[in-house]
Amino acid sequence: MNGTLFIQACLVGLLSYLGAVDCPWMYGVVGGFYILGRPLVAGLMCGLIFGDVQAGVLCGLAVQAVFIASMHTGGTSNTEITYASYGGIGLAMATTQNPAIAVTLAIFIGQTFGLLFYNLRMAGFSYYNHKAEKACRELDKRGLIMNQIVYPQIVTFLVRAVPVWAAIYFGKVAVQRLLDVVPVTITDIITVLGGVLPALGIAMLMNMLIKKKVELIYFCFGFVMIAFAHLSTVALVFIAALIAYLIFNMSGHNGQNQDDSSKVAVDTADEYEDKDLF
């Protein structure tokens, strides 16, 4: 038994639980899913665990690029980013430490086992939900806590930490062998897929935001400002904010504010402000 690897695998497994969307201990999703769960952070963590921060961050960087627009909306996710992060980067760190391999493994793990485990669990938790609801009706406070928190957490720990631990501890050898035999075309396809995947998260968000086809004009404007004018995202956020604010004001100029527009003298600007927005 490889003692170091065992401990490393345990730590990575633990982190993959702590960074899960349903893990509460890092101040809910704030410190968990949205910090620990991000591949870039996972890269740093795995780097620390495997003793090579630079290699870890480079792996994190590569995986993050694939999952930067990963979305988790309405309980549905286009990828299981935590399995992907810790499974992919962890395994890569345990073997080649090659960012491209990390990406391949992350995509593979995230889209297969990851989504499978995730969806099974999401379906299964109905069981505890019903028991928790029953506990509410019966004023069974302990039952509520056990069924809403304790049992689900135990389950989610098991289906997350254990497989990731196993993947790293036992997968190391397998991965190394696999890498020797996998045809280069497969690697190419996965590389291309890595560039394509962000489209899914973005499309999910578009689906939420865009109600009329005409509104694609906003989307295309943003696209063009980056693709043609080579602005950075930070600059775009400011420009977009201006446009959004103009639209906000514009829409405010009809209806309710109309009748009393004459009353709104200059000196009442501040109260007016409150009524409107900030």
């Binding site: 201990w25 939900n129 897929l193 999910m204 446009i243």
Partner: protein, 278 residues
């Protein structure tokens, strides 16, 4: 507010109790998330402090409290503290015996706010804030520096925590009056504003994150020239744009789920590689 002086019993919630409600919700929201109930009875758990304070001697009311907060509920958990704040102020009134507020009100409020807030919250947090911070962080990590993830951890922790606190406080302060503001004309304007902001920024995001280039070479007299180079000459990012619009169309018009879309994208990548296009 009811006249506090008249009766002895009805006390307002203490700071400590409010903090407890805030934290219980913030930490446990998604602890037992299933497709069926989503955040469901986490609310019951969060409002146990209210029960302990007001309904210690009234088990029926306590039961009603827990039961009404055990139903299906789902929104973006961080910005969702706004609803938690509003509900806290409503439950406080109910607990203090304000007869003007029916016990149904918190339920209705939750049901009517959760949808819009999920839309705005997801697009602001997952669509704008996180990708923007991550792309800054990725820039800082070039070459493998730990600066990137450290920056992201600190920045996101501070900003997201601030958002949860401000959201809860505003909600609690607004209380009942919030309903008008959040459902009325003005709310539609604000939603609209954030939607526009979101659409523009994710437009930019797709330009900067989706990485598809063609490897096709086309003959130019005796030399060959990359098709990609030609495309870049008049429409940089044309392939990513087509790809994301195609993906969006699959989701919005064909109503495909993420898994189906991933399979299609994988097929696209595979075929693209095999025919030597990508």
């Amino acid at each position: 507010m009811v006249d506090e002086a008249k009766t002895k019993t009805p006390k307002r919630l203490t700071k400590k109790e409010l903090r407890s409600i805030f934290l219980r919700y913030g930490i446990m929201t998604e602890s037992a998330m299933s497709y069926e109930k989503m955040h469901g009875a986490t609310w019951a758990y969060s409002y146990m402090p209210v029960g302990e304070k007001y309904y210690k001697d009234n088990p029926e009311a306590y039961k009603r409290l827990l039961t009404r907060h055990a139903v299906f509920y789902n929104t973006e958990p961080q910005t969702g503290q706004l609803v938690n704040g509003i509900v806290a102020s409503l439950e406080e009134q109910i607990g203090m015996g304000n007869k003007e507020i029916d016990e149904n009100v918190p339920v209705t409020v939750k049901a009517s706010l959760m949808g819009p807030l999920a839309g705005i919250g997801d697009s602001v947090m997952q669509g704008i804030l996180i990708p923007t911070l991550l792309s800054i962080a990725m820039g800082l990590s070039k070459g493998g520096s730990a600066l990137g993830p450290v920056f992201y951890i600190v920045a996101y922790a501070v900003i997201a925590t601030a958002i949860t606190i401000i959201a809860f406080r505003s909600g609690y302060k607004l209380g009942v009056s919030a309903i008008d503001k959040l459902i009325g004309e003005s709310a539609k304007r604000i939603t609209n504003m954030f939607t526009v902001l979101g659409m523009i920024v994710i437009g930019g995001l797709s330009a900067s994150t989706i990485a598809v280039t063609t490897t096709v070479k086309i003959p130019f007299g005796d030399k060959t020239k990359g098709l990609q180079e030609i495309l870049d000459g008049f429409f940089p990012g044309l392939l990513p744009l087509i790809l994301v619009l195609f993906t969006w169309w699959l989701i919005s018009s064909k109503h495909y789920g993420p898994t189906k879309v991933i399979l299609i994208l994988t097929a696209v990548a595979a075929i693209g590689v095999l025919i030597g296009f990508l």
